[in-house]
């Protein structure tokens, strides 16, 4: 999983701790999210996207995993 959370967060001038406080998770969770090591729930993904002023689709991509890219889904 790849994310653009870090880029969007930096563009808004938010620290990891500030983002964590706004979506009510621990800072470590934001760290793992930015590294692509944590698959968030839909609720958290939506919350992060809302705080960063973007969409879930723009933040997360799954190009290297089975099942295709972000656009892949119901045939």
């Amino acid at each position: 999983m790849q994310t653009k959370i870090k880029e969007y967060r930096a563009a808004l001038g938010l620290t990891q701790e500030e983002l964590a406080a706004r979506v009510r998770v621990r800072r470590e969770t934001i760290v793992f999210l930015e590294k692509g090591k944590y698959n968030p729930s839909l609720r958290l993904a939506h919350g992060v996207a809302e705080v960063l002023g973007t969409t879930v689709d723009a933040l997360f991509s799954f190009e290297d995993e089975e099942g295709g890219g972000a656009g892949g889904g119901i045939p």
């Binding site: 964590a20 406080a21 009510r24 969770t29 090591k37 968030p40």
Partner: protein, 139 residues
């Protein structure tokens, strides 16, 4: 009253409650010591210990987590999966203990078997949770 009910409890409130409860218990424990107790002061000791524990937990966790929550969906998931892995390992361990005892390879007392199981369950749960916590996720 309605405003108090609707007030959002932030992490800061939770830490503050711990500090307040801890301070009250400490003051209460000191007050219990004023006429020196003849029974060795069991009640003041319990009150002071509990008060210190609450106070330290409030202050240290505030310093560690700040205004972010102590637990979130990732840590809860890791906690649950760590316990699940630990349960499976403990089941395997107890099966091995049973077989060793059945085959008379070792002679175990009930106390020793229970003690070993408790240690394996506790340590394996902590180890799995620590491993998953460092990995970032359960997947």
């Amino acid at each position: 009253m309605l405003e108090l009910y609707n007030m959002q409890v932030t992490p800061w409130h939770r830490y503050l409650y711990r500090v307040i409860v801890g301070s009250i218990l400490i003051v209460w424990g000191i007050a219990e010591l004023v006429p020196v107790p003849s029974d060795g002061g069991i009640i003041p000791t319990v009150l002071l210990s509990a008060g210190l524990a609450f106070l330290l937990a409030g202050v240290l966790r505030w310093r560690k987590y700040g205004n972010t929550p102590e637990k979130d969906e990732r840590t809860r998931r890791i906690g649950a999966w760590g316990l699940s892995y630990s349960w499976i390992l403990s089941l395997f361990f107890m099966t091995v203990l049973f077989l060793l005892d059945y085959l008379k390879a070792v002679s175990l007392t009930v106390q020793a078997a229970l003690g070993a199981s408790v240690v394996v369950m506790t340590l394996s749960a902590l180890a799995f949770q620590l491993y998953l916590s460092n990995a970032g996720d359960v997947a």
